[in-house]
């Protein structure tokens, strides 16, 4: 008996499951040409991707065991191949497809092809990172700066390549979640627990996504039902941080197709009373942040029905947070509170009809927020609320012949809002309409696989005069392990209603005459290296340079009467990003450096726009051995000017490093992992905003348990795995 117990205990770490990675290349039988744009999906799961111009693909987060990949491509016959996904390792598979000459069944391209230069973070990586919300997920993406106003649960906003937060469009399953009034998105209200994957597409993307996509798009896809599963997790940590959650999923074949369902819930709470260093001119020493607590609840449910290339999916999501607004440390607000609620539902349908591949997404969303301070340090007591209801529908169809694919679509969205923060007479709603067309040509020349994607979109908005037309042409040339990228395009971001119509106050004034911000011509180029062997390591690297001047960027500045108001300024914006990742036996090393010069183009103001770091960097490493995993992450943010047109009073640069120790385990049908993390390892003083300090060193301990169906019995693959 004791021997058996010992055997179980010893066996546990050995059978710990780590997600595997499957990489490969899809080529055409006979010609050997790369098949670009082929969809590769794991049969019975939700993992899927689309091949690059060189035919290459990568699937991360694959459950170890024997898996079947279904490959579909335009003008080729569908094929299913088997592959061995090994525990924590990368499998490589070569897949050939037979060309199909006849008129084709429509392709089911469920996931839109990620734009060149995009970064996708999948479910497995999100879970492994211990992220609490989407802000945490994005903190190391090259070119992305996340500004959190304090400790756990505090509001967090994103900047891409030195943009303002309202110049980044954030989508939740295709529906905009940017605040209807302020135009920016609080990423702390998007819990990581409901996320299947996050894709960051930097650059001027209005040609496909419309307004706000001036500096980039963050597309958050909620979890897809994977079949039968049961999971629970909990965590605790510094400053009273607690969390608990669980998910339950199931699958069943029905007469109409394969039905799947998933439901999850997560609760988080934190006191947020961390200690911080007080600046010298405020008396020095240390103090404890007050009124920084936060409590949130997230509920999510999704159901899907799939039959062949046809798919129907419904989802519902609710999120609520109640938290303190501690204010700047120079004028703390011990009584200021805010609460936010979001309830959203969506329906998606995809499938072939009349020789075209169709996609329809409809959503309805209601946001409510309340802000109150009965005894503010400055000014009069206030109690404000914002309520917004939005509904939208998007329809697209795709078809093609030969090397050319055309996709067109339209969107219609209505928003109604009510807020005590808006002045009387402010609009109470807006209607947005859009039509877009995107082409794609794939071919080859001189040994290079070429892919050119021109597109344009026209947007109408009842609050804007005329239509906004946003063009973009992107191209990729790939050969072997090298891919060259280039794009030119334009984008716009409308002024926020808050900037135009907020209640005028003492020394602040709205500006109804604001013009939309525009990137008239963005030029971007880059190079990617994939799967470059370096001894026992495999290297991936990428470099992107861009120039994307912003006309009429909206920034706050006082006028000659010292009355602050939003105004339009021309800004020059250019920079570059470099990232590299090396996969090593039993570990991984990676890092990135980004530079973004965002400078006033005005005789009156000069230099870097306030609060935009010119330099940011990140580095991470991980190692696995004997069932344990060790991770080290570090992020560096360069100094930032805090006053427009002045180099004085800079916010100092800072490093923040986190370390984590994980231990995977499995017992019967249950698997899971424990994670001990130390945040801000060096106890560094840091802040992204003046007077809003980050916490010092803290810790968290998390435990996840998951019951999943056993992997199918291992059989020999009909296409052997082999390294290229």
């Amino acid at each position: 008996m004791a021997l058996a117990a010992c055997a179980v205990l010893r066996a546990a770490p050995a059978s710990a499951q780590y997600p595997a990675e499957v990489r490969g290349r899809v080529t055409e039988a006979g010609s050997g040409a790369a098949v670009a744009g082929a969809r590769v999906e794991v049969v019975g799961g939700s993992l899927a991707t689309v091949t690059a111009p060189d035919g290459g693909f990568a699937l991360r987060g694959v459950l170890p065991g024997r898996r079947e990949l279904r490959v579909t491509a335009f003008a080729h016959r569908e094929r299913t191949v088997a592959v061995e996904a090994e525990n924590g390792r990368t499998a490589w598979v070569a897949i050939t497809l037979q060309p199909r000459v006849l008129a084709l069944d429509p392709l089911a391209v469920r996931a839109e092809r990620a734009a060149p230069g995009a970064t996708t973070i999948g479910r497995a990586e999100i879970e492994a990172s211990g992220a609490a919300d989407v802000a945490d997920v994005l903190r190391a993406v090259p070119g992305v700066t996340v500004t959190r106003e304090g400790g756990p649960g505090a509001p967090a906003r994103i900047s891409i390549r030195g943009s303002s937060a309202d110049q980044v469009l954030v989508l939740l399953d295709g529906a905009e979640v940017n605040n209807a009034l302020t135009g920016d998105a609080d990423l702390s209200t998007l819990p990581a627990g409901v996320v299947e994957r996050v894709t960051v597409i930097p650059g001027a993307q209005s040609a496909r996504y419309g307004g706000r996509a001036l500096a980039g798009v963050v597309s958050v896809e909620t979890r897809r039902p994977r079949g039968a599963e049961l999971g629970v997790q909990g965590a605790m940590g510094s400053w009273g941080a607690r969390s608990a959650g669980g998910s339950l999923g199931g699958a069943a074949p029905t007469r109409l197709g394969d039905a799947t369902a998933l439901a999850s819930a997560e609760w988080r709470s934190a006191r947020g009373d961390f200690r911080f260093e007080v600046p010298a001119f405020r008396g020095g020493g240390t103090a404890v942040r007050a009124n920084g607590d936060a409590e949130s609840l997230s509920l999510f449910a999704a159901a899907g029905l799939a039959r062949g290339a046809r798919e129907l999916r419904a989802r519902a999501e609710a999120f609520a947070v109640e938290r303190g607004m501690p204010g700047p440390i120079g004028q703390p607000s011990p009584d200021a509170r805010q609460e936010q609620h979001r309830i959203a539902a969506g329906l998606s349908a995809r499938g072939p009809l009349l020789g075209l591949a169709w996609a329809m997404d409809a959503d309805v969303q209601r946001q409510a927020a309340g802000y109150a301070d009965p005894d503010p340090p400055l000014g009069s007591p206030y109690e404000d609320d914002v309520r917004a209801t939005a509904a939208g529908i998007a329809l697209s169809a795709s078809g093609g012949a030969g090397a050319i694919t055309l996709t067109g679509g339209g969107e219609l969205r209505g928003v109604r809002f009510r807020s005590t923060m808006l002045a009387p007479g402010a609009p109470d709603g807006q209607t947005l309409g859009a039509a877009w067309l995107q082409g794609r040509w794939s071919g080859a020349a001189g040994g290079w696989a070429l892919d050119v994607t021109p597109g344009a979109r026209a947007d109408w908005n009842t609050l804007l005069r005329g239509a906004a037309l946003s063009p973009r042409v992107a191209s990729v040339a790939a050969r072997g392990r090298v891919a060259l990228r280039g794009a030119v395009g334009g984008a716009f971001s409308p002024p926020s209603l808050a900037d135009q119509f907020f209640h005028e106050g003492v020394l602040v004034r709205p500006n109804p005459a604001l013009r939309p911000e525009r990137v008239r011509l963005e030029v971007e180029g880059g190079i990617d290296l994939r799967d470059v062997p370096l001894g026992r390591a495999v290297l991936e690297a990428g470099f992107t340079a861009f120039r994307a001047d912003v006309d009429d960027m909206i920034l706050w500045f006082p006028d000659h009467q010292f009355v602050w108001s939003p105004q339009n300024f021309d800004v020059r914006r250019a920079g570059w990003e470099a990232a590299a990742r090396a996969r090593l036996p039993g570990g991984e090393l990676g890092g990135s450096v980004s530079h973004a010069a965002v400078e006033y183009d005005s005789p009156a103001l000069s230099g870097q726009v306030a609060y935009r770091p010119r330099w940011t960097a990140a580095a991470q490493g991980s190692a696995r051995a004997a069932g344990f995993g060790v991770e080290l992450r570090a992020r560096w943010v360069g100094e930032r000017r805090s006053a427009a047109g002045s180099e004085l009073n800079l916010l100092p640069a800072h490093w923040l490093a986190d370390a984590a120790l994980t231990r995977g385990f499995r017992a019967g049908a249950w698997g899971g992992d424990a994670r001990l993390e130390v945040q801000n390892l060096a106890d560094a003083s840091a802040a992204m905003l003046v007077d809003y300090p980050y916490p010092g060193r803290g810790w968290s301990l998390g435990l996840r348990l998951r019951r999943e169906p056993r992997a199918p019995a291992v059989r020999r693959a009909d296409t052997p795995n082999k390294e290229p």
């Binding site: 001119f281 008396g283 006053a643 003046v690 007077d691």
Partner: protein, 363 residues
């Protein structure tokens, strides 16, 4: 080949001389406040947006120094006071006062109020400073060498105290007399205090609403500028600090006048962002350059007026006027200089970001 001894000696001497030169910057910093050769005057500009104090030599305006107050956006200074080589700079929403050593170009200490908005200040003596809290309606007193940084000795004054002047052993606190919505309750009020004890010696109403600033004339009288409602004309009320009587209220100043400074000859420079600067003789109580001929830098060749936040005169009577800047119109902040004799626009200087106050003096 070795250099001959005289050359080596010369090299050593040169190195010593260079070493001596390396120490020069420290000496130069110490001497900066003495001014340029032939002109000892120093201009001091408060850059509200940059949260800094800029010092420049009038004789060599490119020689300048900046003293920053910190990156916090709650640092919103709009005025300063000077005595000897010290400056007191109330930091606005930061509810604190920076005590600055102008010769060393460094902040010696910060003194803090519990909350509110620190606006005006004045030196009661070489080491004692009074500071007004605009939001919490009190004046606080601290000394340069006190043990802690908290401003604990306070006295309640009329609502919205904005400026303090000290004359003949009295501190004169100018209150705008506004309610919580910043609407005038009535005419402005000047509260006289004993700067040593903070005892209230008396009050007197100004002859207009919303006074935010005052200046002592060489005649020993206090000149309070009633800004008013920014629509109607502004006015100046002349107050006798000893009797606390309003001697006279003079109307006819342009709407929205927000600053008054008075030079040693009794010339008052009243500035506003809508009109520039008018020049008014405190002795004759008449305009030298009235509203129709205000000193104002044109917006462009087509005319228009840039306005001014404050103006001060140098020893010769040349007027230095700070223009806040209008980035939306691509007009950078500048210091405009007007000729002493003709008041013609003669020159302009870089002003840093958001200049709101200027003083000119010798140290």
């Amino acid at each position: 080949m070795d250099k001959p001894y005289p050359l080596r000696a010369a090299a050593v001497l040169a190195a010593l001389a260079l070493a001596a030169c390396e120490k020069e910057p420290t000496t130069s910093e110490d001497r900066f406040l003495d001014g340029a050769r032939g002109n000892a005057e120093i201009g001091i500009v408060l850059n509200s947006l940059e949260r800094s104090l800029t010092l420049f030599q009038l004789g060599d305006p490119d020689e300048r120094r900046e003293i920053a107050f910190g990156a916090s956006s709650s640092v919103t200074p709009v005025s300063f006071s000077i005595r000897g080589e010290r400056a007191a700079v109330p930091l606005g929403n930061a509810a604190s006062v920076a005590l600055v050593d102008l010769r060393a170009q460094r902040i010696d200490r910060f003194f803090v109020m519990p909350q509110g908005n620190a606006t005006g200040s004045a030196f009661a003596d070489d080491t004692t400073v009074l500071a007004a809290n605009f939001l919490d309606d009190y004046v606080g007193r601290f000394t340069a060498g006190q043990a802690g940084e908290a401003i604990t000795q306070t006295v309640q004054v009329a609502p919205a105290p904005a400026d303090i002047e000290v004359a003949n052993g009295r501190a004169l606190v100018i209150s705008a007399n506004l309610n919580e919505s910043y609407v005038p309750i009535g005419n402005g009020i000047v509260t006289a205090l004993d700067p040593r004890t903070l005892a209230v010696l008396g009050t007197v109403q100004t002859g207009g609403t919303n006074p935010n600033v005052g200046a002592m004339g060489p005649d020993g009288l206090l000149y309070v500028l009633n800004t008013g409602d920014y629509v109607g004309p502004s006015s100046v009320t002349i107050i006798d600090p000893q009797t606390l009587q309003a001697v006279q209220t003079v109307g006819g100043f342009p709407a929205g006048a927000g600053s008054i400074t008075i030079d040693g000859r009794g010339m008052a420079y009243v500035s506003g962002y809508g009109f520039g600067t008018v020049v008014w003789n405190t002795a004759t109580r008449t305009f030298v350059r009235g509203p129709q001929a205000a000193l104002c830098a044109p917006v462009g060749p087509g005319g228009g007026c840039r306005g001014a936040y404050e103006a001060a005169a140098d020893e010769d009577g040349n007027v230095y006027q700070v223009f806040f800047g209008a980035p939306a119109q691509n007009l950078p902040p500048r210091i405009f200089i007007y000729d002493a004799d003709t008041f013609a626009l003669a020159d302009s200087l870089n002003a840093g970001q958001g200049p709101t106050a200027i003083d000119i003096r010798e140290f």
